[in-house]
Subunit: 331 residues, 2 copies
Amino acid sequence: MKRTTLAVLFGAWLLDKLHRRTVLTALLGSVAGAVVLSKSPAEAQSDPLPSWNDGKAKQSILDFVTAVTREGSTDFVPAPERIATFDNDGTLWVEHPMYTQLAFALDRVKTLAPQHPEWKDKPPFKAALDGDMETLSASGEHGLVELVMATHANMKVAEFVGVVKEWITTARHPRFKRLYTELVYQPMLEVMAFLGANGFKTFIVSGGGIEFMRVWSDRVYGVPPEQIVGSSIKTRFQMEGDVPELLRLAEVNFINDGAGKPVGINEHIGRRPIAAFGNSDGDLEMLQWATKASGRRFGLIVHHTDGEREYAYDQDTHFGRLGKATLVDRI
Amino acid sequence: MKRTTLAVLFGAWLLDKLHRRTVLTALLGSVAGAVVLSKSPAEAQSDPLPSWNDGKAKQSILDFVTAVTREGSTDFVPAPERIATFDNDGTLWVEHPMYTQLAFALDRVKTLAPQHPEWKDKPPFKAALDGDMETLSASGEHGLVELVMATHANMKVAEFVGVVKEWITTARHPRFKRLYTELVYQPMLEVMAFLGANGFKTFIVSGGGIEFMRVWSDRVYGVPPEQIVGSSIKTRFQMEGDVPELLRLAEVNFINDGAGKPVGINEHIGRRPIAAFGNSDGDLEMLQWATKASGRRFGLIVHHTDGEREYAYDQDTHFGRLGKATLVDRI
């Protein structure tokens, strides 16, 4: 098992603070020998990953892209099949001290509380209003779903989009005091741009809400709405007089996490990714689906080990299954 | 109400038989005045719709594309928002004497029958094996779902893809004796290509199975797998030893028809189409969703009136709701 540690920049907001470290582990799928026929587009350009320290992880990305884009190479993959999938929370942006979408839900509870006096005594809502994360956490999945439905459902899709747009352009991270959309990882933005420049189509494949991400993903990541795969609640179409409306119902439609990710990928993309990027147990099956197949494949896990510039929480919280996964044996 | 009748070619297989007629009705959404600032790309090229008779339907397509692609026009739509959705059965390919996917299911029943001796006496299967369409039809939705599950489920996604690939490249239409993929409507292929050349992203939005269509949609329509929205059954991810697999379960996931089409569009595309093309009641809500909104919009209904070169079944079967729809009042 080769683990590569390299310093990376976490977010555009950290561009001025180089030389700290976090860990990126590169998972390489089947690595057939590339037949060198010509200088590849990936090699020809100047450093496409300037925020990455030179090291095996960076090199493995460059090598992979070189191999699959070089016509005539045994590893060559035609452009339409160059599908890369990225987890979002903890892979593209900060997920501590809580998922951003949970922060959104808690803020929504506070905003909506005046219209719901009964929330003052109702368990998950009371905890949310009191900022009592322990009790909130103890309310479990049931409590969380109740919160999500109260804040995400029973409105038109267009209304929800408006609410998210307003929040995401004003709410600030409790520690960094920056917009959440500024807490994105610069090295990963560079990987996405590099893949895009080499004919890849990049998709976000997240446990987060599909409609929540679509509001800002194009602007922040350059990933358009039709390339977002996420969790969703059910919607219903209805005509209101002569006006067609889509209503968000208080019912879970699909949870795009863990074993759900390959299902979501298949439903939305209908092709198998040749590269996947994740950071937690919830990404294990996506990484398996992308890398355990014939042809050149690439998988990468972002580790979080930098408590100063970000959060160090890697092995403690999210890495049980992933740490033991067969995939890791390939490193 | 202006209805425009024009002769069109139905299918590449009919390229040699011009001058027959079917009816295309152009539905125009809000048509704001276009400010003419420059010769548009749409006008500049030679006739992009050579199989269409000159007439209002053809002209309305040309006008729409001119308006939304001309920078500075009040109707201008940026390329990423140029989303066009197409129904498949009866809009892009022949749907008589039965949906092609039903023909596939019936052939599958015959192929699998030796492994299922019990089918000889089981209602929907017996009817399918006997070619008794009346009894099959009488078995209703329940019988149909039973047939679909027996022929589409309980196998790996990759296996299903293989079965469809084999069938679609060999099975022939009972009347025309051609591959089903040859029974596509040439005028509609031209519209799809014309929109694509003008920065549109085209999606298939069909009641048919998403996995069934993806096998051949890219080759036949130039629409890649990630731009197909369709009905689906549930799938489950599981590791078989070290091999990740997606299994097709005998459970309906989503029916992408009627009011389901805007829901499927929203889930998969996350943008509202500015143009939609359909032919039956199942397309009403998609047409409403696409056209009843601000900005320049376009909707088109393919009518089937040519019993010689195709099938004349228009008003009889599919047009109850659509014929009475408010949308039609706009024509």
